[in-house]
Amino acid sequence: MIRCENLGWDAGEKTVLDGIGLEVTRGEAFGLIGPSGGGKSSLIRIMDLLEPPTRGRLWIDGEEVLPGSTDVTGMRRRMAMVFQRPVAFRMNVLENVAYGLALRGVPRPERRARVADALETVGLAGFEERRASTLSGGELQRISIARCLVTDPEVLFLDEPTANLDPLSTGVIEEVIAGLRRDRGITVVLTTHDLGQGQRLCDRLAVLAGGRLVQTGTPLEVFYRPMSIDVAQFVGAENLVEGEVERMDRGIAFVRAGPASLAVAVHAPVAGPVTVAIRPEEIVLSRGETCRTGTANHLTGRVTAIDSDGPMVRVLLDCGFPLVALIRRLRYLELGIEAGSVICAEFDPGGAHLIPRTRL
């Protein structure tokens, strides 16, 4: 549906995007994630044809977008964009939502019916006569989604659609987006800095950092098999342990890291210096006595700090290298540990991932 080839964009002297190559297929939900300033918004603006790229080529539904010769307005009318900060025109909700239809010359009675449908979809049925200026942030964002839906777009772009909203509004909006994909098979491209949202809503994720696409894949691949230290850090694989592959044995790489030997499941043979990425929630803690020392992935560590993290507790360990474990609060109370306790940390070889250090 959308294809970018070697796409780049400069803001004045500054290169914001460079060498972007990706393809969004029809009907899929594609997420752009990455740290702020990584170029997510710029890329989504280019794909919605709000901004022409400085370099590279762009195809929409098989047709290359060529400045000057392409009917850009016609192409834009097949797509729609929800912005991070929704704006309402100085009109009532009906006129706001119907705006795209008015631009397309749809007659008034039809506009009214289609607006009613769209408002129903976003859970704001009967809001037609309300002045847009009286709505809350969450309602306004839903209105702006309705304003997009009413034109029946083939592609819906959402630029950080819930960044400024409370959890309740966020939930409603995520439900609406999921429903649209289910019921209409609409292609969705969304940017988010909320990893959970990317995982919940998207079939595939692309990680943008420093204006470059560093990894594209399913949420599972991006979250559990990050290809670089940057991606690992961004997706929350906090434990990055440096080591050296000692040997390979039936899909398991044994990595020497300080005093410990770590077993990590791999798909292809690896050798040499690596970084072992382990998500903190993959680490299981138990009392020291039960720890089978000496075997792989059974690490003895001393608790250095304990931080509360909502319903979870983060336990910082010193196992010869620092290790962070994220455990449920009840499990934490069961363990009865405190700073200085010596306990056992374990993780499954499949719960860790190797990043060859030479690849960087």
Binding site: D48, L50, Y99, G100, L103, R131
Partner: protein, 231 residues
């Protein structure tokens, strides 16, 4: 003091009795200033829209020039136009000197800078996201301009009201291009000037009251419209 009171009472009488000369002057004044405001609006909105929506070399200089012309003296416009349309000027053949049409052209030129300048300011004050939203909804350039003018309608209304105020209250163009010909090009301001010089203060006061009343009505009207928009 008594001369003022007496003049004031006579003025009220002239207004209440719908004195034909007073009514005729008032009618012509409204015709000329409203026409120039209409022409000014028809030029200033698209021109302001184009200036506000595009980036081009010399935009700042142009805006500086336009803002300088806010205080363009009315007699300078009168002089320039006089040179252009007097019988020896390049447009002398059009016979516009000492006509209402000539006055409308002069007042339009006079109020254009302030109307364009304020239109540009009104459009520039709109959140850039409004424009992005319009573009992403598939608006053509023309549709964007119309929508943006609509978004800025209250600020633009103020620009139009200000243009009208400048047109109805000016004397320079009216006297130099119109010539203050009784029953033909005489308007409120030129009549006040002449009648005062002739010692006919009652008529001057009557015309002055009307002039102020028109300004008041326009101002109240604009305020009502703007207030309605905020609700």
């Amino acid at each position: 003091m008594s001369a003022i009171t007496e003049g004031f009472l006579q003025a009220v009488d002239l207004i209440v009795s719908l004195d034909p000369e007073v009514m005729e002057i008032t009618g012509r004044t409204l015709y000329i200033s409203l026409s120039s405001t209409l022409i000014g609006t028809l030029i200033a909105l698209p021109a302001g829209g184009i200036i506000a929506s595009r980036e081009f070399r010399g935009k700042r200089a142009l805006m500086n020039l336009i803002q300088t012309l806010y205080s363009l003296p009315t007699v300078i416009v009168g002089l320039l136009l006089f040179l252009l349309i007097s019988s020896s000027g390049p447009f002398g053949g059009l016979k516009l000197l000492f006509t209402s049409t000539g006055m409308i052209i002069g007042q339009s030129l006079l109020i254009l800078p302030i109307m364009i300048g304020l239109t540009v300011a009104a459009l520039s004050a709109i959140d850039p996201l409004v424009r992005d939203t319009l573009v992403s909804l598939g608006a053509t350039r023309g549709q964007q301009l119309i929508a943006l003018l609509r978004e800025a309608r209250y600020a633009i209304l103020a620009a139009v009201a200000l243009g009208f105020g400048r047109a109805i209250s000016e004397v320079g163009v009216a006297i130099m291009i119109g010539g203050n010909i009784r029953g033909y090009t005489r308007v409120l301001t030129t009549a006040i000037s002449l009648e005062t010089a002739m010692g006919n203060t009652a008529l001057s006061i009557a015309l002055g009251i009307i002039l102020l009343a028109i300004a008041l009505i326009v101002n109240i009207g604009v305020n009502l419209l703007q207030g309605g928009g905020r609700a």
